[in-house]
């Protein structure tokens, strides 16, 4: 390595630094540090004249390293790197000493602050001496987009991206688009039903030439990295083609009967069935898992629309970005939890939605065993807030408003039903508070539980018993129907999705955002975005909004010609690597792979995936993995400088 020639530039930042730090003293100190050939100060180093000083010096003094002592690198590292590049120096030969946030802003003692600033500069100089030039990595971006999940969030993302001019592959594992929303019945604050919202989106999706919809299709693998993913999909057969006229003859002869998951098990369906009662379900489908391939349906089908020989198909596509919108699963109470499963008079909110839906199993009549219940108790927070041993610790966000919405609907149809809501905290946030008021006005009775209510099922009668917090008394409510306001849980296959997409996951199992507050629709993995309830409970509007937001981020990536990656990432010295695989195990981004050459293993970093977190460098038992710009020797130089007493 050439002899380092370092220039040190110390910023006053107006009075921000100079008010607390004696900048002249620091300059003099810097001049005497090893390898330093020039040290200067200026009132605003980031200003145009300040930048010019550095540019000139690089040429005049043949500097090959630059140290800028100023503010946080998050503010101006970029600025000064550009300065280096303009002067013909590799921009990564810059080191910044943060003498503002780390020094002048947090101290008042001028003498001590000056000493600290000197030390910070000394440390930066020591590191600068060890810096190496690094090259930015560039990739061309594939303009296609993959969206996993055909619920409202996924469809919204698809529509927005397609309308913005990008080709979208919309993949849904179920035989039909629409997701959970389609089953929700009437939505709060509108006359629309979930199926209307989903249905109109499906129409738009169908009509949009830029969207390729792949239903009954599962994600198998996603390789590559931001801008260039190779995606493998498995399209499973529905055994029925578009010749199907929905005559329904096949259903009559099908001998297999299973619970209808679309109706949350309220009814049964055959192995050949219509995936949704909505009109957009254009053909019958066969559920490959339960079909016995008896062939009865094939025989009866008048238009020969059924082919039991159909095979799964592997599809490979190439995309630049991925949006995961795989939604949620409703929480399913275990048998006996609040009497669920012990009586058909204990149902979940989702089941109630189906019963209230005009297209549901009872055509919108709320009838249990043929009778309209006279009184209903809604129990809130089922599956949420750790109310029962099986439940999740989080709040499912939408259940309060959603329950009240259902109750208002119910009261519209059956004004005389006596309704009790047994809740813990009524979380009708924002304008939904008005729903709560309206429910009160409709004479819905609210009671607050402290611990999960007990539902006792004895014969025909149901009784909900609990300690009522607002009265401080144990009370019991005899009712004809108990509705459990169940929350949302991560979708069944979230673990698989997470592994394939190499994205993080919180302790509760939902996918993790890059930043909870400011990057809510981005995954930690670049080029992967998250929409809808897959990151946590959301209501329909919020899911749709996040679908658009995810599309916004994806479009932002896809419309770039190239992606550039900072080269401050991990690198592995192959000659030291034993292929032990520890780095692979710890890498949170799946950015390290083991390559086997001549039967020996060694690790390799995929630069596009690496985020430069440094976990591999810290855990590498051989010291083979190093974080560029933060190599062990560079950090050691800093530590030595920090602990060295002059």
């Amino acid at each position: 390595m050439e002899q380092p020639r370092i220039g040190v530039y110390i910023c006053h930042c107006g009075v921000n630094i100079a008010g607390t730090v004696n900048v002249r003293e620091v300059v003099e100190y810097a001049k005497n540090l090893p390898n330093v050939v020039e040290a200067k100060d200026y009132v605003f180093m980031c200003s145009a004249p300040g930048q010019e000083i550095i540019r000139e010096d690089i040429k005049k003094c043949q500097l090959n390293r630059v140290v800028v002592a100023a503010c946080s690198p998050t503010m101006h590292e970029h600025t000064f790197r550009t300065v280096l590049a303009e002067a013909g120096l590799n921009p990564y030969l810059l080191e910044m000493a943060n003498i503002r946030e780390h020094c002048s802003w947090v101290h008042t003692d001028k003498v001590a602050a000056t000493e600290k600033a000197k030390k910070l500069v000394e440390i930066a100089v020591a590191k600068a001496s060890t810096l190496e030039p690094l090259e930015e990595i560039e990739f061309k971006v594939n303009e296609n987009l993959l969206i996993v999940g055909g619920g409202v969030a996924g469809m919204t993302a698809a529509l927005d991206s397609a309308r913005r001019g990008f080709r979208v592959y919309l993949v849904e594992k179920k035989p039909i688009l629409g997701g959970n929303t389609a089953r929700l019945g009437r939505l709060a604050g509108t006359d629309m039903r979930g199926v209307d919202v989903a249905g109109s989106m499906i129409e738009y999706v169908k009509r949009n030439g830029m969207i390729t919809t792949l239903t009954n299709t599962e994600l198998v693998s996603v390789d590559g990295s931001v801008g260039n993913f190779k995606v493998t999909l498995l399209k499973k057969p529905t055994y029925v083609n578009e010749k199907c006229t929905k005559c329904g003859e096949c259903v009559k002869v099908c001998p297999v009967e299973v619970p209808n998951e679309y109706e949350f098990g309220l009814t049964k369906r055959k192995a050949i069935y219509l995936p949704s009662p909505a009109s957009y379900a254009s053909t019958y489908v066969i559920d490959g898992e339960n079909c016995t391939k008896c062939g009865e349906c094939v025989k009866i089908c008048p238009v020969n629309a059924i082919n039991l020989e159909e095979e799964s198909e592997r599809i490979e596509i190439y995309v630049g970005a991925v949006i995961a919108a795989c939604g949620y699963d409703p929480y399913e109470p275990s048998v006996g939890e609040y009497g669920y499963g012990l009586s058909n008079k204990v149902i979940t909110l989702f089941q109630l939605n189906r019963l209230l839906d005009p297209e549901g199993p009872t055509n919108g009549e709320l009838k249990i065993d043929g009778f309209v219940p006279r009184s209903i108790a809604f129990i809130m927070c089922v599956g949420s807030l750790n109310t029962t041993p099986n439940s999740y610790p989080y709040c499912s966000r939408m259940c309060c408003s959603s329950t009240l919405k259902d109750i208002l609907l119910l009261k519209e149809k059956y004004p005389n039903i006596d309704v009790y809501v047994i809740y813990k905290d009524m979380r009708t946030y924002g304008r939904d508070e008005q729903l709560y008021l309206t429910a009160c006005e409709k004479f819905v009775k609210f009671a607050r539980f402290r611990e999960a209510p007990k539902v006792s099922v004895t014969g025909e009668s149901l009784e909900v018993t609990f300690f009522e917090e607002t009265l401080g008394e144990e009370i019991s409510i005899p009712v004809d129907l108990v509705v459990l306001a169940v929350g949302m849980k991560p979708p069944k296959d979230v673990e698989k999705i997470r592994t394939i997409l190499k994205v993080g996951c919180g302790p509760e199992g939902f996918l993790k955002e890059a930043h909870l507050k400011l990057r809510p629709v981005e995954a930690v993995t670049d080029g992967v975005y998250l929409a809808g309830a897959v990151t946590g409970p959301k209501n329909v509007v919020e899911s749709i909004t996040s679908g658009s937001a995810a599309a916004s981020k994806a479009v932002g990536l896809l419309c770039r010609e190239k992606v550039r990656i900072e080269p401050t990432i991990a690198s592995i010295r192959e000659e030291l690597c034993s292929g032990c695989g520890i780095c692979v195990s710890v890498c949170p981004y799946g950015a390290i792979i083991i390559q086997i050459k001549e039967n020996t293993r060694s690790a390799k970093v995929e630069p596009a995936l690496c985020k430069g977190c440094g976990v591999c460098a810290a855990s590498c038992p051989s010291g083979a993995a190093q974080q560029l710009k933060y190599k062990d020797i560079q950090l050691k130089a800093q530590i030595l400088a920090a602990t060295y007493k002059r």
Binding site: L576, C577, G579, C580, I582, S585, A618, S619, P621, S622
Partner: protein, 324 residues
């Protein structure tokens, strides 16, 4: 031409390293043919006086095993340093302290109290302790017990290291070849062993899954080991990834996890620290309870991660514990 002179000496050592030299088997004859052994207390009858008589720097190479525990060791190794061109720390104990070095977890008094008193097998009603002077016919100065065990390079300048507990004959032979070839590597190098971690030569390396994440850890007596599968993935603490290779994965071939006797690689500053760091990285836990459970499985973390390297580690004498 006179054959180059060579000396071998043992300090605080179990004798395994001496045995390892003998384990060269018929090759020992080649060694004898090539060098003139001028000092080897365990095998050849030369006295200290004989060494003292030699001119300074006249011994080409001294292979010293064991850590420096007694004042006598200190005396002799300083003498050998004076008389030798090259001093080689032979084996784990002299390189980093080795297993005897774990005694540094206790102070001198505590060790003596236990060894000469509290240990269950001791019957010492008079409470006799080793003396440092013996006065009967003549006054004798006896070797004193140093406060701590020291790796060789703390006491004298060491040129090369040969790792292992003990170094295998292959390693020893390779190191001797290098020493005798005259084509010497830079000072401080490790002779005879590999530059990569043990995994590199481990026959089980290819049996690893993509990701190794351990939910639990086990000790060898708690499992029936599958000898065809990476031991780490069987939740055994195998220190292969953090340990220098060159031993030929002998322990692994005997279905025992690597305990780290070849020490760390060049890039690693502190063996035990690195070992803990690597091992903790692959533990898959979420809760405090998990951590507690895993820690319960590790009754002796110092003995596991610093088995051979405690005196040479960054911890040095900073960690003290009491006898259990």
């Amino acid at each position: 031409m006179e054959k180059p002179k060579m000396a071998l000496y043992w300090c605080a050592s179990c004798g395994g390293c001496e045995e390892a030299v003998v384990d060269l088997a018929e090759k020992i004859l080649d060694v004898i043919n090539l060098v003139d052994i001028v000092f080897w207390p365990v095998a050849v009858d030369f006295k200290i006086d004989d060494v003292e008589k030699l001119p300074d720097g006249s011994i080409v190479a001294s292979l010293i095993n064991g850590g420096v525990r007694l004042s006598e060791h200190e005396h002799v190794v300083k003498l050998l340093r004076r008389k030798s061109k090259i001093v080689v720390a032979y084996g784990a104990c002299s390189s980093w302290g080795g297993i005897p070095g774990l005694a540094n977890l206790y102070d001198k008094e505590e060790i003596l109290k236990y060894v000469y008193g509290d240990a269950p097998s001791v019957d010492n009603p008079g409470g006799v302790r080793p003396r440092e002077k013996h006065v009967e016919e003549v006054e004798l100065e006896l070797p004193s017990f140093l406060p701590r065990l020291l790796p060789l390079d703390v006491v004298i300048d060491v040129d090369y290291y040969i790792p292992g507990c003990p170094p295998t004959p292959e390693v020893t032979w390779k190191a001797l070849e290098i020493l005798l070839s005259g084509n010497l590597p830079p000072k401080g190098s490790v002779l005879g062993a590999s530059d990569r971690a043990l995994c590199y030569e481990c026959p089980l390396n290819n049996t690893k899954p993509d990701k190794i994440l351990l939910k639990d850890i086990k000790r060898p007596h708690q499992v029936i080991v599958d000898p065809e599968k990476c031991l780490l993935t069987q939740e055994l603490i195998c220190l292969g990834p953090v340990t220098r290779g060159g031993c030929g994965a002998l322990c692994i071939k005997a279905a025992m996890p690597c305990t780290g006797c070849f020490g760390s690689l060049d890039e690693v500053i502190d063996y035990g620290g690195k070992a803990v760091s690597y091992f903790a990285s692959i533990l898959d836990y979420y809760t405090e309870e998990d951590v507690e459970r895993i820690l319960d499985r590790l009754p002796d973390p110092m003995g596991v991660f610093y088995r051979y390297t405690l005196p040479a580690s960054r911890l040095r004498g900073k960690i003290k514990t009491t006898m259990r």
